[in-house]
Assembly symmetry: C2
Homo-oligomer: 186 residues x 2
């Protein structure tokens, strides 16, 4: 597709997408899906399924779509894959990064390099139900950028906050998103 | 390690871990870490780092630890990997599954098979800042189990809710967890 490219983002196509959504907001409705099969103990296997978006199903993907999940030995697993809370950080790392890169492109800010380091604090007393005051999830997640870009420090600081606030994964984590659970056929 | 095994979970070792944490809660403090390197456009690469837990660093892992992240073409990427919100579902799928399996084991409920299907609704008008009333993240995530286990339907229903409420990833999503963002060296 022709168009002006900044940071590998086609900003003309992005602007066209925004105009199309303004005319027909239904284009913006997406559904993402994952299937998980338990193997044994803390080992299970996730496969990413086709998704719905822009008013149609997208069953075919080129991406690698199957992932082993486990716990390390200290958490009673065999380390056959990262653990679930590590996969959450993988998603968060990509999401704030892409939000930063895309919004920088839209503002004409050229990025030369960008890295991020994430760390989250988790107290497993919550999972083990040993203290009602300790939540099972992360207490806090810290995201630190190292950026080389053609912008002032003030612009980069503002853009980093904007990227967090508009990142779908960060928003899901920060906004108390409902997770419903049910049994099939019931 | 010797011990009674249910669903692949060593329930004696689990009980010992709980007793050890009751005596020394510092054992329960973990830090998980991910590093992300931007490549181009919506493509970036996450590597899972060593973690801290049970009062020491764990730098060595056997698990596969590096993951490509991208967007599909309809979201302006080249499908070099799943997208960030799909990785979030991968983590959630494994977390509620393991919480279910471990708590079933602790209760002596034998599971023969367990699968889960997850679906989340996302309206990209939030990411694109087109409507202040539309959050950038998932509006809702649905998790549906298919279970064959030696338990009544009531037990399985209750355990499914318990697993969600004690899953670290589900708790992180449902509890409005803070995500801080900063620039290195500032």
């Amino acid at each position: 597709m022709a168009g002006k490219i900044v940071n590998g983002v086609n900003v003309d196509a992005l602007a066209e997408t925004i105009e199309a959504i303004k005319k027909d907001p239904e284009i913006a409705a997406f559904k993402f899906r994952v299937k998980n099969t338990w193997r044994n103990g803390t080992q299970n296997h996730a496969t990413i399924q086709g998704f719905y978006g822009a008013k149609e199903e997208h069953p075919d993907r080129k991406a690698r779509l199957d992932y082993d999940i486990d716990e390390p030995p200290v958490l009673m697993g065999e380390d056959k894959g990262p653990n679930p809370v590590e996969f959450l950080l993988v998603g968060l790392s990509g999401c704030i990064t892409t939000a930063f890169v895309a919004n920088a492109a839209a503002r004409g800010i050229v990025i030369h390099s960008l890295e991020a380091e994430l760390e989250g604090d988790l107290d497993i007393r919550g999972f083990l139900d040993l203290d009602k005051d300790v939540p099972p999830g992360y207490k806090e997640i810290r995201f630190r950028f190292t950026i080389d870009a053609d912008a002032t420090e003030e612009e980069l600081q503002e853009l980093a906050q904007y990227a967090r606030d508009h990142s779908p994964v960060a928003s899901t984590i920060m906004r108390a998103t409902p997770v419903t659970v049910s049994l099939a056929g019931r």
